[in-house]
């Protein structure tokens, strides 16, 4: 890649409204040039810059797994100039993607281990990529037990609902789907905040179990003590951070936490590594 | 000026000792010749570091914005008018402040003084109205009055307009027969000449926003140049964007600017940004009979509406 600022041209292949309040949409992109798709070759946990000429760029976690060929998927929350422009685009529109960027969940370390995935709200995107990756027949045998605690404000705010319910039926993954509140008597799953469900349903830690946590700051704040009460040590808790980014390649200087750049040394950090940094995130 | 320094220190120590204030905001000596540093003294020991001289060119009212504590503040004429402005605009409460008023003899421009030397200035001192400046190879004595900053030379409000203590005798206020000569000269230019004048004036601007940040009036949580939704101004080195920033900022200061000159004192590129704000000060005076920061009971003219407002266009 001789110009890391140059986006790969992509076409919007599909747009799906992801949540009942329409604040999130899932975009499926196809690369205009097959060699770009081959070069893109990402790992679960990474992010990419979605680039809209005339508007700007946004760093978004890659929601599709590397095992899903022919497209890449992102779920985007509408919040500012670029995300609003993206939400107003149509299938067939051309834009750009730069990436993949950042590091990824430590798949080498996780080989042969039990994995507990904990996500909240719309931070579930790279966790979807991870689950699809692990459940792929080529990979499933590489991992032990897989538990997932995923919660949102209400059922209509859960991402990838159809897939969640499909996974719930499988016996090679334990799903603990939850919502903060629900008065629908037909709701078949948990009701309670993510940290509470973690405490109640997540497996106790042993040396072969790791937790991957991704969510809004408030969820992470209360999930950490829940995990610690289950015996998870700093090196067993893996987190994915966010920060304001522009270049995504470790050069514009703004996303640092101490000497770590979230776009390049992260966004994935163990809690142990994070505790060595100044708390500026 | 030495007595000003002693007086300021004595007052500050007393204020802190009695608990009347939590902090005293003034200046301390800087690390290089002619530099002063805005300083917050929290203890009596720190209060002994406060100084006053002809280089106290910034506006300390800038440091009051939205503070919640009890503050002793050292204020010269223009600073005190900005304090009045701040009180009127609810950026600070009168009850929080103990104002140490300084009847100002004018500030000088270090770069203008440096221009008197071939090598770097290594020391500066003053006694009464005489400044003694030295470099490794020369020494020069000049009168302060001959080297006043642009705004100080045009100042007619040297004495603080609001204060709790004074550190010296009130000084005579100058009377100027043609206070807006500089503005008139620009107004007299034809359009093309004026446009080129502004282009040249703004040459060298690096959009550091030192002018905006040094100004006590600029306290918007998000400045218009920083808005992204919608984005009013580009952030690059584009002549139109640079002009937009300066012209609009001057308009936002209309009716509020006291010509304290902190903007020019802060500018690293020596841009004469007051050319814009002085036009609005003149307009304020001529259209509304208004000078900023003199009356704590009134809001600035662009802030108020009355049915008998003189402008015809709204009728």
């Amino acid at each position: 890649m001789d110009n890391p600022y140059m986006p790969y041209p992509v076409r919007i292949a599909d747009i799906e409204v992801a949540t009942e309040d329409r604040s999130l949409k899932t975009f499926t992109f196809t690369f205009l040039k097959p060699e770009d798709e081959a070069a893109f070759n990402h790992k679960a946990g990474q992010f990419a810059m979605l680039s809209i000429p005339g508007k700007g760029e946004i760093p978004i976690g890659i929601a599709s797994s590397p095992t899903e060929k022919g497209f890449v998927k992102f779920t985007v929350f509408r919040t500012g100039v670029v995300t609003t422009a993206l939400h107003n685009m149509a299938v067939g529109d051309i834009m750009g993607i730069r990436g993949p960027m950042g590091n990824w969940y430590p798949w080498d370390t996780l080989k042969g281990k039990n994995v507990v995935i904990i996500g909240g709200g719309f931070a579930f995107t790279t966790l979807r990529a991870s689950i699809v990756y692990m459940l792929d027949p080529a990979n499933r045998a590489n991992f032990g037990n897989i538990d997932v605690v995923y919660g949102a404000r209400s059922p209509g705010m859960l991402l990838y609902r159809d897939e969640l319910f499909e996974w719930e039926k499988r016996d090679d993954i334990n799903m603990h789907i939850t919502v903060d509140g629900c008065d629908d008597p037909a709701w078949a799953y948990n009701v309670g905040f993510v940290p509470t469900i973690v405490e109640q349903k997540a497996p106790r830690a042993d040396k072969d179990t790791f937790a991957i946590v991704c969510g809004p700051p408030i969820m992470i704040k209360f999930t950490q003590p829940a995990l610690q009460s289950l015996g998870y040590g700093e090196n067993q808790i893996i987190m994915s951070l966010e920060n304001r980014m522009k270049c995504g390649i470790g050069m514009c200087g703004r996303c640092n936490i101490g000497k770590e750049l979230v776009c390049k040394d992260g966004p994935v950090f163990t809690l142990a590594a994070l505790n060595q940094t100044p708390r500026e995130y | 000026m030495e007595s000003y320094t002693e007086q300021i220190r004595t007052l500050a120590v007393d204020l802190l000792k009695s608990g009347k204030v939590d902090v005293v905001i003034g200046y301390r000596r800087g690390t290089v010749p002619m530099a002063t540093v805005p300083f917050m003294a929290r203890t009596q020991k720190q209060a002994q570091e406060l100084i006053w001289d002809s280089h106290c060119t910034l506006n300390l009212a800038n440091y009051l914005t939205n503070r919640q504590d009890k503050i002793g503040i050292v204020a010269k004429g223009c600073d005190s008018r900005n304090i009045v402005n701040h009180i009127v605009e609810n950026k600070i409460k009168r009850e929080q402040l103990h104002i140490i008023g300084v009847p100002c003899k004018g500030m000088v421009n270090p770069k203008e003084l440096q221009a008197l030397f071939k090598d770097e200035i290594t020391s500066f001192s003053e006694s009464a109205d005489t400044l003694t400046i030295a470099s490794a190879h020369a020494e020069v004595k000049v009168e302060r009055e001959d080297h006043l900053r642009g705004n100080c030379a045009l100042c007619t409000h040297r004495n603080p307009v609001i204060y709790d203590d004074l550190v010296g005798e009130l000084v005579t206020e100058p009377v100027l027969d043609d206070p807006f000569k500089d503005v008139n000269a620009i107004e007299a230019m034809d359009t093309d000449t004026k446009w080129n004048y502004f282009d040249d004036l703004l040459k060298g601007c690096i959009r550091c926003y030192a002018c905006r940040n040094a100004c006590p009036l600029c306290y918007c949580p998000t400045c218009f140049v920083d808005e992204s939704n919608p984005q009013w101004v580009g952030k690059g080195q584009n002549d139109t964007d640079i002009k937009t920033f300066h012209l609009l900022r001057a308009f936002h200061c209309a009716g509020r600017c006291t010509d304290c000159g902190a903007c020019e004192a802060a500018c690293p590129m020596d841009i004469h940004v007051r050319a814009f704000t002085r036009k609005l000060i003149k307009d304020s005076k001529e259209l509304f009979g208004w000078e900023a920061g003199l009356d704590i009971s009134k809001r600035p003219p662009l802030d108020t509406f009355a049915p008998d407002d003189p402008n015809d266009f709204i009728k």
């Binding site: 890649m1 110009n3 890391p4 600022y5 140059m6 041209p9 205009l32 680039s51 000429p53 005339g54 700007g56 946004i58 500012g80 529109d93 051309i94 834009m95 750009g96 920060n243 304001r244 522009k246 270049c247 390649i249 470790g250 050069m251 514009c252 200087g253 703004r254 640092n256 936490i257 101490g258 000497k259 390049k264 100044p278 500026e280 | 800087g30 690390t31 290089v32 540093v37 805005p38 300083f39 770069k111 090598d119 040249d200 060298g204 690096i206 550091c208 926003y209 030192a210 905006r212 940040n213 040094a214 920083d226 952030k235 690059g236 080195q237 584009n238 802060a266 690293p268 590129m269 020596d270």
Partner: protein, 349 residues
């Protein structure tokens, strides 16, 4: 290493010769201040104005730079597909760059040319540039380069080092690029041993003339978290007005912002210098701001310059001791003072 003697009456012609093959950048006067700028066809570098307000970093890293362009007109071929903006990377030479600024460029290169990514804009410009430095015979009050890994006659990052003497420049040719420049300029008279000795004497005198001593020896060993949580940041930050002056005049500050601007159907992605002093720098789309307080931003600047960079690259601090920030800061925040405070800090147990 060859030392060439350039008679001052040859200098102008030499610059004109060089100009045929290099785009020249040099110090020019912009109203009352000196800055580095591309020289016009008939403009000579102003060798009396080498101590510029802004550093020469703009020769490789302009304040506003076009990166990518495209058309938004859907009827045109290649619409919405961004292409690299055209720019001129033909050979260029920076004349009169000070040694501390040349070291700064070496340090900035660590950011733009990494094993994972290469910034083609900065790197192509850097590859095309020959640096003709000018030693500092009379260090200013603000120069503390000897404490920060550089010095008045330091050669790091330079292709040629010129030493000013009354009738001639003595030019130490350091690299092949430097040799090529000198040949193009037509400067080929070798200096005599006495003249080489003169250079050595001037160097010694200049180094001794810098009396400011800034201590950095303990910074490596200090705990990053201890320094970050130290109580002195509040007081240091009080006077700061969070303008961008220090970052814009600094030769090692490299942070930038990416902005898209559109005129009609032409869309351009620019990069502009940005500053960690601005509250927008770290503002999230959600409204959360990890460095929303002034003290946090002031701390960030000094921690980055004097600790994070030091720990990350092990090439000394990111400050080269040019003193521009000390000179230009409207409130006289002095990095030398801050560095000494950091270097001496012991947390209360």
């Amino acid at each position: 290493m060859k030392v060439i003697k350039i008679d001052k009456n040859q200098w102008t012609q030499g610059m004109d010769n060089a100009r045929e093959h290099y785009q020249l950048f040099g110090p020019v006067k912009i109203k009352e201040n000196y800055c580095f700028a591309p020289l016009e066809r008939d403009q000579q570098p102003d060798m009396t104005g080498v101590d510029t307000v802004l550093s020469p970093k703009s020769a490789l890293f302009p304040q506003t730079e076009k990166l990518l362009t495209t058309t938004l007109d859907v009827s045109k071929q290649g619409h919405h597909i961004m292409e690299r903006a055209s720019a001129d990377y033909s050979p260029r030479a920076v004349i009169g760059i000070r040694p501390f600024d040349a070291l700064a460029i070496e340090l900035v290169k660590l950011n733009f040319d990494t094993k994972d990514y290469r910034d083609p804009y900065w790197c192509d410009a850097h590859d095309a540039t020959t640096f003709i430095g000018l030693a500092v015979n009379t260090p200013s009050l603000f120069d503390f380069s000897t404490s920060m890994g550089s010095g008045p006659f330091d050669e790091k990052g330079l292709d040629v080092l010129l030493v000013d003497t009354p009738a001639a420049y003595l030019a130490k040719v350091i690299t092949e690029k430097g040799r090529a420049f000198m040949a193009t300029a037509g400067f080929d008279q070798e200096a005599a041993p006495g003249e080489i000795q003169q250079m050595e004497d001037l160097k010694k005198a200049a180094e001794q003339a810098i009396t400011t001593q800034v201590d950095t020896d303990n910074l490596r060993g200090k705990s990053l978290l201890d320094l970050h949580q130290a109580p002195f940041w509040e007081d240091i930050a009080f006077s700061c007005i969070n303008c961008g002056t220090c970052t814009f005049v600094c030769p090692t500050c490299w942070c930038f912002d990416l902005q898209d601007e559109t005129k009609g159907n032409n869309s351009t992605r620019f990069r502009n210098w940005d500053t960690c002093m601005s509250p927008l720098f770290t503002l999230h789309g959600s409204g959360h701001n990890p460095r929303g307080e002034k003290t946090q931003r002031v701390r960030q600047r000094f921690m980055h310059k004097l600790k994070y960079f030091l720990d990350k690259y092990d090439r000394g601090t990111m400050c080269v001791g040019c003193g521009r920030c000390v000179k230009s800061c409207p409130v006289n925040i002095d990095i030398r003072e801050v560095c000494n405070v950091m270097n001496a800090y012991e947390p209360q147990k």
